[in-house]
Symmetry: C2
């Protein structure tokens, strides 16, 4: 058989996949998932939207559609983005098969092998996996609880003349839960302009904020079309609909639409039509508010359990939104080993080892704790198991 392309090496099964397979046993409480809570899916309203799409629009909802997406939904999404402070119209919107496809298309459009992609430290694994086939070199930028450190970003940009793209999740980051501060947002976009790079702003958790308001998007600081904003209905409506969008200048949307045509023709016409009808007839705003309350309560419950159970030496973030907390164990603790040898087989609890989330120089003493799908009593019991399992294993680590 001929040799597969070298890029195949870059999408090998992840450590997460293997480790979480171990945690599939129903006796194990897993904080590993990043799935939204299915109890929140607006099943009745979506059922009604699909019924209308098929019965009322019939054939047109089942036929081919432009690769950019159907006009009505692009218009509605542009309205959502304007309400979020981004000046745009339907011509700025490309519908995509979830945010993951935006990552693939941007890689396909921008990256030659050896180009430098800047990432947060740590970074969303799907961003790295999605860009890998285009064979970039990664440089990770120092990141703290206020997001990317602009001073270090500047250093990295100076040192890497082939830097072309910054991939960032500025709101309630996966895996850390951190949010890029207002001052830093302005500065990051300014640095992108000065060093002539493109920013891919991935915001799947943006609407799941637990505070009074959201910070402005990076896109809202963009003056010359170098920020590509990516949004998604996966965490707010349902991931099984595979519907997200990109916001970019019309020329870029047109170019990306040609790439999308070559890649998978278009998003599902039916799903786009049904989401459009949902936005028209259901109360998306009230639904988002229910989501926020639900996840805020889970975050509070998780944080309280961590405060009560964990020893001082284990730190954790309390995110202002989203689905994840970030655990920091003492430096000598390797969470891959802690999970594989102790927590999963003996304590019956799992989370995602932090080492999976680094594009270079992994840190081994971290962990991602996802709380979205667990009921309160399982959260309490799960954190109790982490604390007990860690206490039991501590002398062995």
């Amino acid at each position: 058989m001929p040799q597969p392309a070298a890029r195949m090496e870059l999408v090998r099964p992840s450590a997460i996949r293997e480790l979480l397979a171990l945690a599939a046993d129903p006796g194990i409480i897993s904080f590993g998932g990043g799935y939204p809570d299915p109890a929140l899916f607006p099943t009745a309203d979506l059922g009604e939207a699909f019924r209308r799409a098929i019965e009322e629009q019939g054939a047109s909802a089942l036929q081919y559609a432009p690769s950019e997406g159907i006009d009505r939904l692009r218009d509605q999404v542009a309205g959502l983005m304007r309400a979020d402070g981004v000046a745009c119209g339907a011509e700025n919107i490309l519908m995509v098969q979830g945010a993951q496809q935006a990552i693939d298309l941007v890689g396909k459009m921008w990256l030659e092998p050896g180009d430098v992609v800047l990432t947060e430290t740590p970074s969303f694994l799907g961003g790295i996996v999605g860009l890998n086939p285009y064979e970039p070199v990664y440089r990770s930028v120092r990141t703290d609880e206020h997001g990317i450190d602009p001073a270090h970003l500047e250093v990295v940009l100076r040192e890497n003349p082939r830097a072309k793209l910054l991939y960032t999740v500025p709101d309630f980051h996966n895996p850390t839960g951190y949010t890029l501060s207002l001052e830093r947002r302005a500065r990051v976009v300014e640095l992108a302009r000065e060093h002539d790079i493109v920013i891919l702003e991935d915001t799947p958790y943006r609407e799941l904020f637990f505070t009074a308001q959201k910070l402005p998007t990076l896109k809202s600081f963009d003056t010359d079309g170098r920020v590509y904003h990516v949004g998604s209905f996966s965490k707010t409506l349902a991931p099984g609909l595979r519907t997200g969008w990109m916001v970019a200048d019309p020329d870029t949307v047109e170019r990306l639409a040609l790439l999308k045509l070559a890649t998978d023709t278009q998003n599902s016409t039916l799903n786009m039509s049904a989401i459009s009808l949902y936005l028209e007839h259901a109360d998306y705003g009230a639904h988002l508010e229910r989501n926020r309350e639900h996840y805020r309560a889970k975050r509070d419950h998780t944080a309280a359990a961590l405060a009560a159970e964990l020893p001082e030496e284990v730190g954790y973030s309390v995110p202002a939104g989203g689905l994840f907390l970030w655990l920091t164990f003492p430096e000598h603790v390797n969470t891959d080993r802690l999970l594989r040898e102790h927590l999963i087989p003996r304590a019956g609890v799992a989370f995602v080892p932090g080492s999976s989330f680094y594009s270079e120089n992994p840190e081994f003493n971290r962990g991602r704790l996802g709380f979205p799908t667990l009921p309160s009593d399982r959260i309490s019991e799960g954190i109790h198991r982490i604390a007990r399992g860690y206490a039991d294993a501590r002398h062995l680590l």
Copy 2:
């Protein structure tokens, strides 16, 4: 702004796109489309399937699913393939976002820049556009009304040691409507084995046969996993569902599923669930039979009109299935010009100029005539317009 990747040059807008934009005027009868007839979409049965998926399966039909696709549908598709003479099980099936995504994933998996891809002469445009981002070199293999010429395939394989992939549409080809003969099927797979290349067998029109039976798939001649078979529900259920599949050995399915995970995570869970319920509760066999009768009648009507109206010097194929006829004008006629200067603006009729469909050495005297969506009277009038327009323009060409 930094430079886009060089591969962007390879997905520029096609001549088809521009020309067919001219033909969007409702006064123009367009044979340009390759869309299936929406009158055939099983709207009521699909409505019922989506209702069941959302009401009965609820959250699980809206949640994330494995990137390979949901097990039940993979199992059902494997059953359809076994009924079509391919020995396989669910582990051989990867669900994809329409056949176009299979093309993208196979390119991503196999092709390094400069690798040689063999195509039919002419070839499906979407196949070329889909593989272009992986920067192959194309070599087109001589093709006649019985499909690829194996003698020429052997010559091209000998001359191109970097040949890696043959892309072919063996059943009711787009654009020609030709079908690869039984003897040639066996020989093509044999040559692929001898010269160690992979075959991508794309079969969107396979179920739309107008004769007593189908020929066996190339996959059914495969002894060592080098044929990737691609099927799709786009032309038999509805393209707006974006649901197709690949059949390959389990290792390849696993590798492609990892690429799919990096590319767009997965197909829509809801669409997969609904199609699975449709296959379980509706009569897909009877639906396919209705499709065949419908398109057979349109083909017959189109062929009769061509026989009655066209001068002897213009040839055409009468396909044994599918959605397209292939016109051959005298060698000095350039159909790009004929369409742009005469048929579209003066005669009010359009088809797709043949030159768009060649990966190298385009022929300019051909045209693709798609009949699926036009009612009989429009087909008659459209072919009358082609004949009259050509007669009027003949002395100018």
